[in-house]
Symmetry: C2
Subunit: 272 residues, 2 copies
Amino acid sequence: MKIFIIGLGLIGGSLAKALCRLHTVGGFDFSEDVMKKAESEAAITDLPIEEADLVIVAVPPKHTKEACIQNIPKMKRNAVITEVCGVKEFFSEDLTVAAKLYGVDYVGIHPMAGKEKFGYDYAESTLFEGRDFIIVKTAETTERALQIIYSTAGDINAGKITEISPMQHDAIIAYTSQLAHVVSSSYVKSRMLAFVDGFCGGSFQDMTRVAELDEDMWTDLFLMNRDNIMAETKQLTDSLNLFYDALNKGDREKLKDLLKNGRERKEHCRIR
Amino acid sequence: MKIFIIGLGLIGGSLAKALCRLHTVGGFDFSEDVMKKAESEAAITDLPIEEADLVIVAVPPKHTKEACIQNIPKMKRNAVITEVCGVKEFFSEDLTVAAKLYGVDYVGIHPMAGKEKFGYDYAESTLFEGRDFIIVKTAETTERALQIIYSTAGDINAGKITEISPMQHDAIIAYTSQLAHVVSSSYVKSRMLAFVDGFCGGSFQDMTRVAELDEDMWTDLFLMNRDNIMAETKQLTDSLNLFYDALNKGDREKLKDLLKNGRERKEHCRIR
């Protein structure tokens, strides 16, 4: 298959490194340094977008829609375009329509992989191995597009593959991903942060790991999924307030109930 | 050295398994099965507490003070007693006085290691390797006690060793450990939890890992450190509310500032 990747950052670069083992991969990045590096590592070769069977757009969220719309007209008929943005409903319909106009099939994907570090230099061919892989499907998604995406997910050794609608995707991701970044960024605001060296178990590291994020990208993601993130943030602060009240009252039974309920919910949802 | 460990759960059992490689280790656990298993694995041998140079109390928080006070009279003069409870101010002074009465030295420790699983069956000799190790020191802590504790920390290959007062210990641990458990237990309360399978990146796993906890033990710890945990919970909900407000207003600059500040704080505090 011929694949063209637009944006060779952490995700696009990792896709190039993984897919070049099996396919002819072309690519583009605004950074000349990145282009040179990707070429010298043979992650990309000299393939024009016009020849690609699959185009993967892996640019920052803010530019995803625009990058797709600008490149769809260059693509050959019956090719498939996808993008890896962490929010979907915002542009899903527009891209479906734009792709259709040019005889191209659009389907969104969201490989659930990342790092606290970003950019091509941190890209790895193994980034997606065993990780959840989401296919964002609408009534207009074609079988052909699905087939190409499933085979690509297999090529990068993705873990569980799930199909879902754009609306449901955004609601769930607000909880599993975006809320985690809100919490991590909030957790490090405590005045006690200055004194933690020497006092850290694994739980502190876990809580604060993703506070090291790309604020431009996450600001855009947050604004593209505002209502869902607000709803999750509200639910979380409500739950935290229950702890605060139980502590304030010294209510042992209530505290224990809250913790027990949390343990049981976690055990019940244990994934894989 | 002769060491006696009271309570052979995850922490006590791991200490026995680590220390028996270098020392004569005796021990006691209410569970006969655990006693048999620890003996059969040679983690403990037939050493009476009366002969121990160091007694380590590793029972649940609720029983820590009582277990120390009951066993101090059995100890030989100039021996050292320590305990591994996650909260210290609650009983620090009482134990110092009780130990002094019997010519024994008390000093608290807090090895920052744990697991989501508890009990002897999960104990491992390597549990403490490279992990932070806290020595909770008061004006009355003796050099002799400190020497024994430092050498024991070395024997279990602890990482960074820090001395601190009981009050400071509790204030910092409320943030680095107990708040993380409050958050994790609250995070899993979202109604969205039922739909996460297939949608999880590392950040969701990190946020929810410690929700699987022993609710009896953590209820006791929380109640023994109420004020500090309430203060940290309040700070966190305040920070979360700033995100909520910025999202609600669609205030891009504010959102970006909150995330940038979080990233910078995290980078600045990067530990080891």
